[in-house]
């Protein structure tokens, strides 16, 4: 566990780049550095929050706080920063809801968070990526998968898909929206277990 997040040192963290980031900069940074941590973040939230219905909302709130802060200064290293924000958010929520005493989160720091460290072999990663995409696709509900496949792989329009499947165009749109949301959860929110699964 050499890589355990250090959580309580907000002021001491080294930062590079003093200048403010523009929205596209924050976006590139967020997609590159923060999104790949989502599986670990989700695990952290699930371990520390009882109401699983709140997790998606908590995740979104973490991202908002992370990006707001990143706009001022790009945090480095990123991981302890994200987890410290997640931890503070949970504490805020607990205080507000007054459901659980604050002591309940005292062992947050002790919790090991499994972080998926990418290996050095990019070629294997590229193959893993394709495989992971296909696994995600296979795990969609069948109608959603049909629509996503026709839209993304066959390049069909909403109208063409509606005609082929004999359903209305709004129904096709609904399925694609569902698919886009589910794919984000599968690709970012679920742990990458390819190496073990293969």
């Amino acid at each position: 566990m050499a890589d355990t997040p250090e959580i309580d040192r907000e002021g001491e963290r080294p930062h590079h780049q003093g200048a403010d980031m523009t929205a596209p900069d924050v976006k590139a940074w967020f997609v590159r550095e923060v999104l790949p941590m989502e599986a670990a973040l989700m695990q952290f939230l699930h371990h520390n929050w009882r109401k699983s219905g709140d997790i998606a909302d908590l995740r979104q709130d973490v991202y908002v706080r992370v990006c707001e802060a990143a706009q001022q200064k790009i945090p480095d290293p990123v991981k302890p920063f994200v987890f410290s924000i997640a931890r503070n958010l949970l504490i805020d929520r607990l205080r507000r809801e007054q459901v659980v005493p604050i002591e309940a989160v005292s062992d947050l720091d002790a919790l090991g968070v499994a972080i998926d460290v990418p290996g050095p072999d990019r070629a294997v990663m590229a193959r893993d990526e394709l495989r992971r995409l296909q696994i995600a696709l296979d795990r969609l509900p069948s109608r959603t998968r049909e629509v996503v496949t026709m839209a993304r792989i066959d390049g069909l329009t909403g109208r063409e898909i509606a005609a082929r499947l004999g359903i209305s165009e709004p129904a096709v749109s609904q399925q694609l929206d569902t698919g886009m949301r589910a794919l984000a959860n599968l690709l970012y929110g679920e742990p990458a277990d390819l190496r073990r699964g293969a």
Binding site: Y63, A123, R127, I153, T157, S173, R181, L183, A184
Partner: protein, 304 residues
């Protein structure tokens, strides 16, 4: 939002993600200037809108690689065997690779028999249009052999550098081989640079697949999306992503200029020397290591 109770917060988060998905779908299928304006307003409203959209968009962009599977649907009977031979590749890619390897013998024969050869001298620059409507720009000191027939489209980059803009035809993928490796276009603009053993492929637009093919195993395959750069040598293959502004530098020769971004002087000199018979030599080793960023307006080829 942080002052509301958890049920409300949950409903708001769900609503935001639903809107983000709606925008993403509309942008994918049905977009115009009005949509863009309305979308920009929505996006600027809050960080919650931005992160929700960026996240869905990033996942959706990743799925673009699935389109690589389009032209080669697996034959149910053939995939099992391929899987056994190459445990790292999953069924569809493995079977596609098998098809290409089989097809390659025929391509090779064709190149030997009726291929056309195009070349440029040191300092030269030439654009050729192929029979299928694709175009290729040759950079300095380049030799390219091309064979286009109704059944096969293939080119071999013997040496040098070329920028390909391929007219996509899913039933007849355009295959470029260089330094023992192959690039298969999947609807694409890409840059290929080769010397004796090494191949560098930069994807500018569309999708392409690169396969290494030395005697070593396992065979490496990578599907590229725009911004990806693959460098393959007989021993290895590495993939990296470059920001678009760096790609502009790599393609600058097409405009008759060279752009250097934090490049050591010695490397810049080596790059200039590709275009000139009179070679630049940096005598001072300290100066040679200094990094410069230059974008000259004069074409280096004018010293030709």
């Amino acid at each position: 939002m942080r002052g509301t109770n958890s049920e409300e917060a949950r409903a708001i988060a769900d609503e935001i993600e639903a809107r983000a998905a709606m925008w993403l779908r509309r942008r994918y299928w049905d977009w115009n200037a009005d949509c863009q304006t309305e979308f920009d307003v929505w996006l600027d409203e809050s960080w919650a809108h931005r992160v929700a959209f960026w996240r869905l968009e990033a996942a959706w962009e990743r799925t673009e690689r699935l389109a690589a599977l389009r032209p080669m649907k697996p034959e149910p009977s053939g995939t099992t065997q391929s899987n056994k031979n190459r445990p790292f590749l999953f069924g569809i890619v493995a079977s596609a690779a098998a098809v290409i390897v089989l097809g390659f013998g025929a391509v090779w024969w064709q190149l030997q028999s009726n291929g056309k050869t195009y070349s440029t001298l040191v300092g030269g620059h030439k654009t050729i249009t192929l029979a299928d409507g694709s175009s290729v720009e040759l950079n300095t000191d380049t030799v390219l052999r091309v064979a286009i027939s109704p059944t096969q489209r293939a080119a071999t980059l013997e040496r040098g550098e070329a920028y390909f803009q391929i007219k996509h035809d899913a039933t007849h993928p355009f295959v470029v081989s260089a330094a023992q490796h192959r690039v298969t276009d999947l609807g694409t603009k890409f840059l290929v640079r080769a010397d004796a053993d090494n191949l560098q492929v930069t994807l500018v637009e569309g999708l392409a697949r690169v396969e290494t093919s030395g005697e070593w195993l396992p065979r490496h395959t990578a599907v590229l999306v725009p911004g990806d750069v693959v460098v393959a040598s007989p021993e290895s293959m590495s993939l990296r992503r470059e920001p678009t502004r760096k790609l502009v530098g790599e393609l600058s020769w097409r405009q008759g200029v060279l752009v250097f971004n934090r490049t050591a002087l010695a490397d810049a000199a080596a790059e200039f020397n590709r275009y000139n018979r009179t070679k630049l030599i940096i005598a001072d080793p300290v100066a040679a290591g200094r990094q410069r960023s230059v974008s000259p307006s004069a074409a280096p080829a004018t010293t030709r």
